[in-house]
């Protein structure tokens, strides 16, 4: 009798309990899996970018013995010299057995078309080398570069390859002679954009980003802080203040491309500002980052305890004096943190800048805020669209540079917060 009663209540519950605990464990596992999944995505993203990109920091170069023949040079006009012939002669002297027009052409293709300009620059810098023979490392063509980095498979049939069998055999000979090596790619950091992957660099885009961010910072920080101070300290509670607040919250959620449309319609078409200029880019990004800075600055102002304000007012300071002498200095670290985070967003932003023409192909490094230029994320977009295989690794490398900038900016923000955060 007694055993039967126990079975009905306790056992039933125990069966149910086991089921409930199983559910509990499953639920917890789902949660862990979700966290794990997002971190895995991040890992895959970073690893694939790094795996694709690290090779771009190296560039294949060929050692040539260039004879600067005095007969070729007209001292008065160093630009008109046929530098191409110098490169071709040196290539031929490496492989004297190559005969026939098409073979020769294939041979010349191993060298980057930019080698000519390097020689020209050398002569321009020091005309004393005319008449001598110099050993010079010159960049190889991007196809050779890809072969050296293993992106062109030798097993594919000749027709499907960008390099034919003869070219590959020449490359192998050069490698055996130690005339073809992978070296650190300085061009990537010192050059502007180019159609040739081996000559393309990120300096133009980086400088453009710098100008754009400078404009953004100069405009958005003062305006953002002023707005925050007004809304927190002065604004009366009325319809107008409510309208401003609703507006700021909404602006924070407007798609960035809409700001680009505004820039195109207002700054370019109505005010007639120059296309592709960092000035206009900075203005558009200012509109975008303002809400971020305002919201962060207001939070920073709110966190200053009222006792400080009251103490200042109590010893006879005016409201403005209390703010400028006491509250602003205490709120400044928080404001700066918010500004840096806003700047990091602006640095990574692409879409609105496409609208105002910052996608143009620009070779020169910009010299001022009105010069046509591009920015790092747009450069990444442009390279990602290029068909050459060699641009894939350069795109990834540019992404690594961009991420490095972003991470260091965020690290500075975190550091500022840790260092100056005060608990009242």
């Amino acid at each position: 009798m007694q055993s039967r009663k126990k079975e009905t209540s306790m056992d039933k519950m125990n069966i149910g309990l086991a089921k409930r605990y199983r559910k509990e464990r499953r639920f917890r596992l789902f949660g862990l899996a979700a966290v794990f999944a997002s971190i895995t995505f991040l890992g895959i993203l970073f690893v694939s970018i790094a795996a694709n990109g690290w090779t771009a920091f190296q560039q294949t170069e060929i050692l040539l013995d260039v004879h600067f023949d005095t007969a070729e040079f007209d001292v008065d006009n160093l630009y008109s010299v046929n530098y191409g012939a110098l490169v071709k002669n040196s290539m031929r002297s490496l492989f004297p057995e190559v005969k026939g027009r098409s073979d020769k052409r294939d041979l010349y293709r191993l060298m980057s078309s930019g080698a000519v300009y390097i020689l020209q620059d050398m002569v321009m810098k020091d005309s004393g080398i005319i008449g001598s023979t110099q050993q010079i490392w010159l960049p190889a063509d991007d196809e050779v570069d890809m072969l050296m980095k293993g992106h062109i498979s030798r097993d594919v049939t000749e027709g499907d390859r960008r390099l034919n069998d003869k070219q590959i055999s020449w490359v192998d000979t050069l490698v055996a002679e130690k005339r073809l090596e992978k070296k650190f790619n300085t061009t990537f950091f010192t050059a502007g954009d180019s159609r040739e992957p081996e000559l393309a660099g990120i300096r133009g885009a980086a400088v453009g980003s710098l100008f754009t961010l400078a404009v953004t910072l100069l405009l958005s920080f003062p305006i953002g802080v002023a707005t925050a101070v007004y809304l927190e300290e002065f604004a009366p509670r009325n319809k107008w203040t409510d309208l401003v607040e609703v507006n700021i919250n909404n602006l924070a959620a407007v798609p960035s491309i809409v700001f680009g449309l505004l820039g195109l319609a207002v700054f370019l078409n109505i005010f007639g500002m120059p296309r592709s200029a960092p000035l206009v880019g900075g203005l558009v990004l200012t509109l975008m980052t303002l809400p971020t800075i305002i919201i962060a600055s207001r939070a920073a102002l709110k966190s200053v305890p009222p006792s400080i304000r009251e103490a200042a007012l109590g010893v006879g300071a005016s409201k403005m004096q209390a703010i400028t002498h006491h509250i602003l200095p205490l709120a400044l670290p928080g404001m700066l943190t918010g500004t840096i985070i806003g700047m990091a967003q602006a640095l990574g932003e692409t879409a609105p800048l496409l609208m105002i023409g910052m996608v143009a192909f620009i070779v020169d490094v910009p010299g001022s805020v009105t010069d046509p230029s591009t920015v790092l994320p747009v450069q990444i977009y442009l390279w990602a669209d290029s068909p050459e295989r060699a641009f894939v690794e350069r795109t990834s490398a540019a992404i690594m540079v961009l991420l490095a900038f972003l991470i260091s900016m965020n690290a500075i923000a975190v550091f500022l917060r840790r260092k100056f955060e005060r608990r009242w």
Partner: protein, 462 residues
């Protein structure tokens, strides 16, 4: 002499005037007898003089910057012969473009029209005159106002109050800028959209099923007029956003629950910032990742299963976009979940519920308004997201429900229509603004609903 130089000179002048004003206040304070003290500290007198030196001149300067270009262009065009002046507006725009290129010296010497060259020279001459007159007017204004204030400096002048009023007005103007930006967005986008709707009826745009935004060069051209039906691209936008949300909502919500309810503090302190990194990665990076890694992966696995997958499938773009918005959902949900009071959890445990039962039956219902608001914000983010879809989604406007096919989105179309050369009288360009307006309105409505839901249905505890 460049205009920016004027500003620098003006700044220098203002700081000089500041010192003079301050010195005068000091002098007054020392010369007067002790009974009349200065009303404000001497610095305020200097500040007041400097502000009156700087601000009116700055106003003159900005007006000149805004209007001189267009005035000068009109004047230069007047010098052209009548035959060149009386041409249709779009050709006139081209002419103006040529003129500006000439002025900037962007044209090779051999193909210059002598008449235009003359106009350009006129322009440059007038620009020189206008700059000189600007400098004269600007500095005269600065001098006039600063000397006026300088003379009026007396111990009884309430300089501090004046300065503070000016600064406060400045602060107010800055805060009004946010409203101005919104108005600017609405007006500029609306203006071009209205021009578009004058050429293409609104109903054709909103309910049309075919999207091919070309305009015929000639009337009799085959397939002459393009069609501007926004339904296919709206469908594409919602499909990609839907895929993104169906990835992001479960993962984001579950990780928020795990991190706030289960994870030990050490794991939480470590995993939360790592997930925040996902939000900080620029979208162009996600786009590249989607095009380079995810899209080929999906196509290859589709081929293994015998499916025909487009290389620009909606699935690839949607998946990557989902990853991008995970942190939005997780951090917003995390905030509302931690805001649920501990007493409610304790009550549920006291009744014998397990942790997961408490979460499902107590915490989520309590936090639901916040979670829904977060999801809506994430949805508006997904709809407005540009770079991922530009790089990974297609261009062809297919009206399809198959996520393995290529679809296009509103933002992709805006970018493709507006990048490159534009003519601002063709529907092909103007439709981009109509799409922008649509995008702005949809996201605005989503945001407003999100804020409303959060405010209206928020459970207030204590």
């Amino acid at each position: 002499m460049s205009p920016s130089l004027f500003l620098i000179v003006l700044l220098g002048m203002a700081s000089y005037v500041y010192m003079q004003g301050k010195r005068r206040a000091f002098r007054l304070a020392s010369s007067e007898s002790d009974s009349t003290k200065l009303h404000s500290r001497p610095g305020y007198y200097g500040m007041l003089t400097a502000l009156w030196c700087f601000l009116p001149a700055l106003l003159v300067f900005s007006f000149w910057m805004m209007f001189s270009g267009s005035v000068l262009t009109t004047l230069a065009l007047r010098t052209l012969p009548d035959t060149m002046q009386n041409i249709p507006p779009n050709q006139l725009n081209l002419l103006i473009n040529d003129l500006h290129n000439l002025i900037a010296g962007h044209v090779a010497a051999k193909d210059i029209d002598p008449v235009l060259q003359l106009a350009a020279e006129q322009y440059l001459g007038m620009e020189r005159i206008s700059r000189i007159s600007l400098a004269v007017v600007m500095f005269a204004v600065a001098l006039f106002f600063s000397s006026l204030i300088y003379r009026r400096i007396t111990p009884r002048l309430r300089a501090r109050n004046h300065v503070e009023r000016i600064v406060q007005t400045g602060l107010m103007i800055c805060s009004g800028l946010a409203v101005l930006i919104t108005i600017g967005i609405v007006v500029s986008v609306m203006f071009e959209s209205i021009r578009f709707f004058q050429q293409v009826p609104v109903t054709d745009f909103l309910f049309g099923l075919k999207w091919s935004p070309q305009m015929a060069m000639r009337e009799d051209q085959a397939g002459s007029s393009g069609s501007f039906g926004a339904i296919p691209i709206m469908a594409g936008t919602f499909m990609i956003s839907g895929i993104a949300l169906s990835v992001a909502v479960p993962i984001g919500l579950m990780s928020a629950i795990y991190l706030s309810e289960y994870a030990p503090p050490r794991v939480r302190a470590w995993a939360k910032p790592v997930m925040e990194i996902l939000a900080g990665v620029p979208t162009v990076v996600y786009g590249f990742f989607a095009a380079l890694v995810v899209a080929p992966f999906i196509r290859n696995s589709g081929e293994l299963l015998g499916l025909d997958v487009s290389s620009e499938s909606a699935l690839a773009a949607g998946l990557v976009m989902g990853v991008m918005i995970i942190p939005f959902i997780s951090s917003l949900s995390d905030d509302v979940i931690t805001a649920v009071p501990q007493a409610m959890r304790d009550g549920s445990y006291g009744l014998g519920a397990t942790k997961s039962e408490t979460i499902k039956n107590v915490i989520i219902p309590a936090a639901l308004p916040g979670i829904v608001g977060g999801v809506l914000l994430a949805a508006s983010r997904a709809i407005g997201e540009t770079m991922i879809v530009v790089m990974a989604a297609g261009l062809s406007a297919n009206l399809t429900a198959n996520p393995l096919q290529a679809v296009t989105t509103v933002t992709v179309q805006i970018v493709t229509l507006l990048v490159g050369d534009q003519e601002f009288d063709s529907p092909k360009t103007l439709v981009a603004f109509a799409l922008g307006l649509l995008l702005f309105l949809v996201t605005l409505v989503l945001n407003v609903i999100a804020l409303y839901v959060v405010r209206k249905y928020r459970e207030e505890y204590e």
